[in-house]
């Protein structure tokens, strides 16, 4: 099904077209979200939200970009919204716990390991994902889209609404920050 035809059918509320869209792009959305939120259940929740949002806002989609680019944009927005809300909840949980309320602090999940990583690299990749959490949002998004989804700089710039040099700069800074974080982490381990 060509994209234009798909969009027309989606705008008419065609269920088969919606199913086609979900099955065609679900792994792309899930993988991107997983890279950003680093939790399988949360990533699935975000993926569902992405497709619900896509279904509800298809009338606003003008077809100026590819469907995949549009879905990437929704995924990034929803994932970052999710992370912000999680951070807020964690902060409130901490404040409540200070005042002796019956709210438990959010337990930090175990180290995240991406399911697509080969077993012998899992331990080192876990350190990388931990360091990834410390990056500013824009750097993290650029890194995930490039390294986990294998997008080119031009595609990343279209998703992020930036120029190609801006994306290159984000990736450069992301790499420097990751190196610094990892270096600190390993030096502490060696001491």
């Amino acid at each position: 099904m060509i994209e234009q035809e798909l969009i027309e059918k989606l705008k008419k509320g065609d269920q088969a077209a919606f199913r086609f869209m979900v099955t065609s792009w679900q792994d792309m959305v899930y993988n991107t979200s997983l890279g950003l939120v680093q939790n399988e259940m949360d990533a699935e929740d975000v993926t569902q939200e992405v497709f619900v949002k896509a279904f509800e806002s298809i009338h606003g989609f003008k077809g100026e970009s590819k469907v995949s680019t549009w879905l990437y944009r929704i995924t990034v927005t929803k994932s970052l919204d999710f992370l912000r809300s999680k951070k807020r909840k964690k902060r409130f949980g901490y404040i409540y716990s200070l005042f002796g309320e019956d709210n438990e602090l959010a337990i930090n999940p175990p180290e995240f390991v991406h399911p697509g990583i080969v077993s012998e690299k899992k331990q080192v990749a876990a350190a990388l994902f931990k360091a990834l959490e410390t990056l500013p949002e824009q750097q993290r998004v650029a890194f995930v889209l490039t390294r986990l989804e294998g997008l080119g700089h031009k595609e990343v710039s279209e998703v992020m609404g930036n120029t190609v040099p801006a994306v290159e700069s984000l990736l450069q800074r992301a790499k420097i920050n990751l190196k610094k974080q990892l270096s600190d982490f390993y030096r502490q381990n060696l001491e």
Binding site: T23, Q26, Y30, E49, V52, V124, A125, A127, L182, S183
Partner: protein, 110 residues
């Protein structure tokens, strides 16, 4: 020095650990779950709950509450002023009427 080299090697290994990474696959029942979520979202009670849960709605309620309080306080103040004014007028009228009676008596005696 050896430690530095070791750390550097681990950093490089970590950065290269994503080379050749496979794509994570979504749950096979994802579509059914999305359909269920859409059904829930179209439920009028769910819609109402989502509307009420909006921060803008909470802000509007607070503003409305403050406006109502201000209106009631202002109304009470206006009523109190009106009552005071009326009382002053009555007092003045009573005083004036007394003094005019006195002056009438005075002119009659004359």
């Amino acid at each position: 020095m050896k430690r530095e080299q070791q750390a550097e090697q681990w950093v490089n290994e970590a950065l290269e650990s994503l080379d050749g990474i496979g794509r994570a696959t979504a749950n096979p029942f994802l579509f059914t779950r999305i359909e269920e979520r859409l059904r829930q979202r179209n439920n009028p009670w769910e819609k109402l709950a989502r509307f009420v849960a909006r921060p803008a709605f909470a802000l509007a309620v607070v503003l409305l509450f403050l406006a109502a309080n201000f209106y009631v306080a202002n109304q009470e103040k206006q009523e109190r002023l009106a009552r005071e004014k009326q009382a002053n007028e009555q007092l003045f009228a009573a005083e004036y009427s007394t003094s005019s009676n006195l002056s009438n008596e005075f002119s009659a005696n004359k």
